[in-house]
């Protein structure tokens, strides 16, 4: 590893020389002396580590969790209608031969294509599944609080999908939870693959939940009640220890390459991708109307970049995009207009201009300069890129197989059939 890091002042944000991330990345980013970021350095391990040996390690790790009697499941696998779920279940069931209980937290922003992908997942891999549906009045009450307090419409989704598997592990006494890749490792190289980091309550609070667990949302000035948030509480330490709950990440044992993995799952198990206005990636987030839309817009307001930059950095590191190509794709996508805000407004029961008023209170002052009533401008404008975006997209080849509405009525689906198609 190269010697001591460059010495930039706190607050001043410096870009990595290889990818597009800057040191003000919300998960933290550290540049080394050559100006290369921790994310890119840890990514180099993907081409250096012996992944055969690491797979063997995974096999020995899961061995004690196989239930010989078959009376209960070997492990718990959190799934959605997108986000690498097919590849994860493929690894767990088809390659490790484990008998998983799939679990999913219903985000309520479901696209018909996401419903279809999840239904097809259950059929393709023949797995039992448990789906949690928290009563929508509590979910909306929480959403109003998290939107007001720290500009997030996604807290309930993130809190639910990171805790329901753990609660299920405790309730069903199935200690092993198997996740896909660790977001901190994949984006900013938070850990080396060899650290074999596991699921912790601290990481969930610190990063998934923006520093606020369920009880931190309660305030004597707000009407949000314990009855609304109790289902998002993490099991306490004594319970976790009694069951021996443990969450591992496949990305520490398998060379993680989401694009290649999705393409394999499209081919082998009929996963379906779709086009997005705000990114060139067609696979990662097809299950949700908001993740690549309003939520992505909020990410831009708060952090000054959006999901397309995550996808671009990933593809740079995998050698499928040059930095210039990546920048041109980002510039083409990151400010595309939102297409599904009306659905969210109807769901939460808010007017669009009123919603924008709330969103604007969370613009990051380091990134957005007010130019007058209702107008903002980015303080740092990225340099213009001149790559021909069309040819770049042609080359990199992300394919779509359906629209988000999958030919059905274009609306949030709470519980769907998702078959046939």
């Amino acid at each position: 590893m190269s010697p001591v890091t460059s010495n930039q002042q706190p607050g001043e944000s410096v870009a990595c020389k290889r990818c597009l991330y800057k040191t003000d990345h919300p998960l933290g980013l550290i540049l080394d002396e050559e100006g290369i970021c921790s994310g890119c350095r840890i990514h180099e391990e993907k081409d250096r580590l012996d992944w055969q040996a690491r797979w063997k390690k995974l096999e020995s790790l899961v061995a004690p969790y196989r239930v010989a009697s078959g009376k209960t499941y070997d492990c718990i696998v959190p799934v959605t209608g997108a986000n690498d779920s097919y590849y994860i279940v493929h690894l767990v069931k088809e390659r490790l031969g484990l008998n998983p209980l799939l679990v999913t937290y219903n985000k309520y922003f479901n696209t018909p294509l996401g419903i279809r992908n999840l239904a097809n997942l259950r059929i393709q891999f023949n797995c039992d599944i448990l789906i949690q549906n928290v009563n929508p009045s509590s979910v909306k009450a929480i959403t109003r609080t998290t939107l007001r307090e720290f500009g997030s419409i996604y807290w309930p989704c993130l809190a639910g999908q990171t805790v329901f598997p753990v609660q299920t592990a405790v309730r069903y006494k199935i200690p092993l939870i198997i996740w896909g890749a660790h977001q901190g490792v994949e984006q900013v190289g938070m850990y080396s693959h060899e650290h074999e980091v596991e699921m912790t309550r601290r990481y969930r609070k610190d990063h998934d939940l923006m520093g606020r667990e369920a009880d931190d949302l309660l305030s004597i000035f707000d009407t949000l009640s314990e009855d609304d948030i109790w289902q998002y509480r993490y099991p306490d330490d004594a319970t976790l220890d009694a069951v021996g709950v443990r969450g591992i990440y496949l990305g520490n044992y398998v060379r993680w390459d989401p694009k290649a993995q999705h393409e394999a799952m499209v081919e082998k198990h009929q996963y379906k991708g779709a086009r997005f206005a705000r990114t060139f990636d067609t696979y990662d987030h097809v299950d949700c109307y908001n993740f690549m839309d309003l939520h992505d817009h909020l990410k831009m307001l708060k952090h000054g970049y959006s999901k397309v930059t995550d996808h671009a950095c990933r593809e740079i590191r995998h050698g499928r995009l040059t930095s210039a190509q990546a920048k041109s794709l980002v510039q083409q996508h990151e400010h595309q207009p939102l297409q599904h805000v009306d659905k969210f407004c109807e769901w939460l029961g808010v007017e669009q201009r009123s919603l924008e008023f709330i969103l604007n209170q969370h613009r990051n002052p380091n990134i957005w300069k007010p130019m007058g009533p209702g107008q903002w401008e980015r303080t740092v404008l990225p340099s213009e890129e001149c790559c021909n975006v069309a040819t770049v997209k042609q080359e990199i080849g992300f394919t779509a197989h359906a629209n988000l509405d999958n030919g059905e009525q274009d609306r949030y689906i709470i519980i769907g059939k998702g078959y046939p198609t």
Binding site: M1, P3, V4, T5, P10, L27, G28, L29, I30, D32, S38, I42, G184, V188, G189, M190, Y191, S192, H195, E196, V197, E198, M199, T200, R201, R202, Y203, K205, D206, H207, G211, E226, D236, D237, A238, T239, L240, D241, V245, R246, G247
Partner: protein, 256 residues
């Protein structure tokens, strides 16, 4: 009877809790207050908050961080290190919730100030931090700001006014972040036999911790990076530390 202590070390750089490797490479972890709150719940015996860039940039202690941590209402003893230049800094850090103060740069810049700190806070509140490494069988003391090293003999030690501090933390800075790599010769080579020692830097496995904590002049061992790879890392270490007088592992149960 008096227990040996397992200290959760939180290294902070530019306001971020980080993993540190050999005093030169870092990986981002998260917000210090969330890391500290987690160590408190896990039942660490003490928490050392070490802000490694305060002295270099001359900003003094990170009082804002201490305020944010005090606001959490935690109940684990906190040792603060990082940018303490004088008695006033130390007293203010204590008022903001730190229980004890650790100094490093001050030992090079203004060691005499330790007497004043002791009069203000009592020497039981003071710890001296010495990054050390072994070369040709001898301990060398490193000035982490400029990389300068000097032989850690009685002469060097006498210039540090260590009589005003209760404990000395020795950090095997070369092996910091490398699992199980702490050089166990370090505590045996330290010239002041009766000074209670805290050890840090490459201590990860329970067996190794057990060996160093069995030395009678070693009163505490610090663990940093390795606490962040598994849930209940503090409790898992404590559970496996057989034969060392230490508070038992505690798994909180929040009865609401």
């Amino acid at each position: 009877m008096l227990k040996k202590r397992l200290i959760g070390v939180v290294t902070v750089r530019q306001g971020w809790a980080v993993q540190s490797f050999g005093y030169r490479r870092y990986l981002p972890l998260g917000k210090p207050e969330v890391v500290v709150e987690n160590l408190d719940r896990w039942g660490a015996d003490e928490i050392l908050i070490s802000c490694i860039d305060r002295s270099e940039t001359g900003q003094g202690p990170d009082f804002k961080l201490l305020e944010r941590i005090a606001a959490l209402g935690l109940s684990t003893p906190v040792i603060y290190a990082g940018g303490v230049r004088n008695g006033a800094d130390a007293v203010q850090a204590v008022n903001l919730g730190a229980d004890r103060i650790q100094v490093d740069a001050m030992l090079w810049d203004l060691p005499a100030e330790l007497e004043l700190l002791s009069r203000e806070l009592g020497n039981q509140a003071l710890i001296a931090h010495l990054p050390v490494s072994i070369r040709d069988g001898a301990l060398y003391w490193r000035n982490y700001r400029n990389g300068e090293e000097c032989l850690l003999d009685h002469a060097a030690l006498s210039r540090m006014y260590l009589e005003w501090v209760s404990e000395v933390m020795l950090t095997d800075w070369v092996h910091e972040g490398t699992p199980g790599a702490f050089d166990e010769a370090i505590p045996k080579l330290f010239p002041l036999e009766e000074k209670p020692l805290l050890l840090f830097g490459g201590l990860s496995a329970s067996a190794q911790l057990q060996r160093v904590l069995s030395l009678n002049n070693v009163v505490a061992a610090g663990v940093g990076n390795f606490l962040h790879y598994k849930e209940h890392a503090i409790q898992q270490i404590k559970r496996n530390l057989v034969g060392v007088p230490m508070r038992a592992a505690h798994y909180a149960s929040e009865e609401r």
